[in-house]
């Protein structure tokens, strides 16, 4: 039993990879090997496809993967959140059933939290789960569900008790998406894409053993999922890029990434494409216009400072120091940057802002920015919610008195869905 430190881990990982990595191999086949060896998710418990490594050492292993060009376990999509949630709250049976196929990428997952009647207020869910006979029966509607039409399994938040207050009335289930009681409809957005779905449940079934944690503990489990989602959000850019190396396994990974990333095609436009500002200014001959220059400089400086602020937070995390306020600011900053960027793009476009598609500059990509940016200040918690979080959790200011947590949920005024 050698001591565990950066050097020993690096050596071990490198040795194993050099001994086992081959590009001419099936993606699933290779990932099974990773799962069995524990090198795919080394920070996971050794009992569950990991090696009990401290999280701090994971980057070391990843460096070795990068060095040799080895592919890792399936990381893209909701499946990562599913894995984290099941690891934290799932039963052994659930771990047995799901974790491996998550790592191999064979199963696709979706998240069933948001509802038409409760956007920012996830805990206000009214989709009901009633225990009838020997199983749970699900009725209601979810929305903003990415990849629901492809998913095998869904992470479902549903209300199991209407006499209890808002939060304790919720439970968390794993739902089989491929069953008659589940209908999936695409949801078209103002930018023309349909990256999300609406999911309707009519007497959909969930086996008792697919309840995660206990009945009434659904909110705790949900926060685990959401916490990992927030973390993952930053990662998005990094894990989205596929390798361009030749080889059977790389081809398979490219397919996987293409299909999984498909719904996210417009996400770069959503955050304002500040990377295009200077080049657009030159292209439109406005790069010497002092007014334009000021506006561009405002956007660039804000986004740079936001990037540095995020680095401060990550550094604190890595050094195991308590994270300062800078951690909670990223989401709000990015939506302010996106909005400002859209403004500058508009003034750079001039009359061209009237046009879209093939008639618009850059084949409509710039027009796409203008109609996608509004999502940035809404999706994943509106700016208003972010400000509430910052003021209440970071600045410790008094919580808003809301009338919905102290009484039976059935008595709480709520939207007649829509």
């Amino acid at each position: 039993m050698t001591e565990i430190n950066e050097d020993t881990v690096r050596a071990e990982a490198r040795a194993w990879l050099e001994a086992n990595w081959i590009a001419d191999c099936g993606l699933v086949e290779w990932r099974l090997k990773l799962a069995e060896s524990g090198w795919g998710v080394p920070h996971w418990p050794s009992r569950w496809y990991g090696r009990d490594l401290p999280v701090g050492l994971v980057p070391v292993v990843e460096e070795e993967f990068k060095r040799i060009g080895a592919i890792g376990v399936a990381k893209v999509g909701i499946r990562t959140l599913a894995a984290a949630t099941i690891l934290a709250h799932g039963t052994d049976l659930q771990k047995e059933k799901f974790l491996l196929r998550i790592l191999t990428g064979e199963d696709i997952w979706c998240q069933l939290f948001s509802e038409p009647g409760s956007g920012s207020d996830v805990a206000g869910a009214v989709t009901r789960a009633d225990f009838r006979g020997n199983q749970w029966v699900i009725n209601g509607q979810k929305v903003w569900t990415t990849s629901a039409h492809k998913a095998h399994w869904g992470l479902l938040l549903a209300r199991t008790d209407w006499d209890k207050p808002k939060h304790p009335g919720l439970s968390y289930f794993i739902l089989d998406m491929k069953q008659p009681g589940v209908t999936v409809q695409p949801l078209r957005q103002m930018n023309g894409y349909a990256s999300f779905n609406q999911v309707f449940f009519t007497d959909a079934k969930v086996e008792p053993e697919m309840l995660v944690s206990e009945v009434g503990n659904g909110w705790a489990v949900t926060t685990t999922t959401l916490m990992h989602e927030r973390r993952g959000a930053d990662a998005l850019r990094s894990w989205a890029v596929a390798s361009d190396k030749p080889g059977r396994i790389y081809d398979e990974e490219r397919d996987e990434i293409r299909t999984t990333m498909e719904p996210y095609k417009w996400y770069p436009q959503r955050v304002g494409r500040i990377d295009l500002l200077l080049e657009r200014a030159r292209a439109t001959g406005k790069s010497d216009d002092p007014v334009v220059r000021q506006e561009i400089a405002k956007v660039l400086s804000m986004s740079k400072a936001a990037e540095w602020t995020a680095r401060r937070a990550r550094t604190a995390q890595e050094q195991g120091r308590p994270q300062g306020p800078e951690g909670s600011l990223g989401k709000l900053a990015s939506s302010l940057v996106a909005r400002a960027a859209a403004r500058v793009h508009t003034s750079l476009l001039g009359p061209d802002a009237l046009l879209t598609g093939e008639d618009g500059p850059m084949n409509g990509l710039l027009a796409e920015i203008l109609v996608s940016v509004p999502a940035c200040s809404i999706a994943g918690g509106t700016d208003e919610i972010q400000r509430n979080i910052i003021s209440e959790r970071v600045l410790k200011m008094p919580r808003e008195r809301t009338g919905d947590t102290d009484r039976p949920f059935k008595d709480v005024p709520r939207n007649t869905v829509g």
Partner: protein
């Protein structure tokens, strides 16, 4: 009438609002915006003739009512509210304006009655690929040929240019900047509808390959009447924009009043209340400016030009900002295609840049500022 409307005007407004609420529901807007034309002749004719909208500002001698720009701006404010899909701006302001400002009596006699009666749709083509809103961006040439003129070159961002029966064209003749009229079906004219970001307002690109054209006014004398036409259009557009902004604001307020979150109407959250207050302030200021600008032009005041540019600048900022707030207030639902908010959002964005954006008009405002 810079600061109030007469009871006749208020009555006209409410009749028009009722009519448009009935004939231009968002369901109808959605249907029309998916069509290539962007409107339907019969539907538009019915609305137009019901209240004689295209006739409003045309002199009685040519079959119109000879009313003021201020009166016409009421029409635009209401059309902006209802997001009406119709060639009204192109026909009754851009084209009719150019004809009234530049045309000889004979030319007006020949062209205006059809517009007043709603039989002729028309537009004004002046911008080219260089994207300049000013007349000096004009490269299209008019050359004398066998008594008449022929046009060679192109125009783009032409409002309703692919459907207009009659096209007023700004061109460079030997005598200088001149206006001409061209039949929409004239030989040598190729018209292509452009894919517009705001589907409720269509634009076209026109290519002129030796197109026969009739002069409008004296050759070389177009500069002044053209400028006058554009400034009138700027004011009309500003009024359309404040109408749209006010409608968006009202709808967002109504939604906030009924939408429950955390067990109470989101309208009861102070941040929402303050946002709505700011929206009201911005929209009301823009409305005051749009109203004032119309009256100032009618009354020929010294500050009329400055006021017109000021009105468009404020309207551009207010409409876009209101649209951003409106989507935000609706939350995720506001970002969906089925929710109507994005229809106005896109109209706001297209109106923001049409005839020049806020910065462009702020600069012109300052150039025309007294003292």
């Amino acid at each position: 009438m810079k600061f109030s409307f007469s009871s006749e005007q208020e009555e006209f407004r409410s009749n028009l609002r009722r009519l448009l609420a009935d004939r231009s529901s968002t369901k109808e807007v959605r249907r029309l915006m998916e069509t290539d034309q962007g409107y339907e002749r019969d539907g538009w004719a019915a609305i137009n003739t019901a209240l004689g909208l295209t006739a409003i500002r045309i002199p009685e001698a040519y079959g119109g009512y000879g009313l003021s720009l201020g009166d016409q701006c009421i029409v635009f404010e209401e059309m902006g509210r209802a997001l009406l899909c119709a060639p009204y701006f192109a026909t009754a302001v851009l084209a009719a304006g150019a004809i009234m400002n530049a045309g000889t009596e004979a030319e007006q006699q020949a062209l205006l009655p059809g517009i007043a009666a709603g039989e002729t749709t028309a537009t004004l083509a002046w911008v080219e690929d260089n994207g300049r809103w000013e007349a000096d961006g004009t490269m299209l040439t008019a050359t004398a040929e066998g008594g008449g003129f022929v046009l060679n070159g192109h125009k783009t961002y032409v409002v309703d240019g692919h459907t207009a029966d009659l096209i007023v064209v700004l061109a460079r003749a030997q005598q200088g900047l001149s206006l001409f009229t061209v039949d929409g079906k004239a030989g040598g004219l190729t018209r292509r509808a452009l894919k517009s970001m705001d589907p409720t307002r269509k634009f076209a690109r026109l290519d002129f390959g030796g197109v026969k054209a009739q002069p409008l006014g004296a050759a070389g004398a177009a500069a002044a009447p053209f400028a006058r036409t554009i400034i009138e259009a700027v004011v009309c557009l500003a009024n359309e924009m404040v109408g749209g902004a006010d409608r968006l604001r009202e709808d967002a307020l109504a939604y906030a009043m009924m939408r429950m979150q955390f067990g109470k109407a989101i309208a009861s959250f102070q941040s929402m209340k303050h946002k709505q207050a700011d929206m009201l302030l911005e929209v009301e200021l823009a409305k005051s400016a749009a109203y004032y600008a119309a009256a100032a032009l009618d009354e020929g005041d010294d500050d009329a030009l400055a006021a017109a540019h000021l009105a468009k600048a404020l309207a551009s900022d207010a409409y876009t900002q209101t649209a951003i707030h409106a989507v935000q207030i609706h939350g995720g639902i506001g970002f969906t295609w089925d929710n109507d908010t994005h229809l106005w959002f896109k109209r706001a964005k297209s109106s923001e840049v049409l005839l020049g954006d806020a910065g462009y008009h702020r600069e012109l405002m300052l150039q025309n500022w007294a003292a």
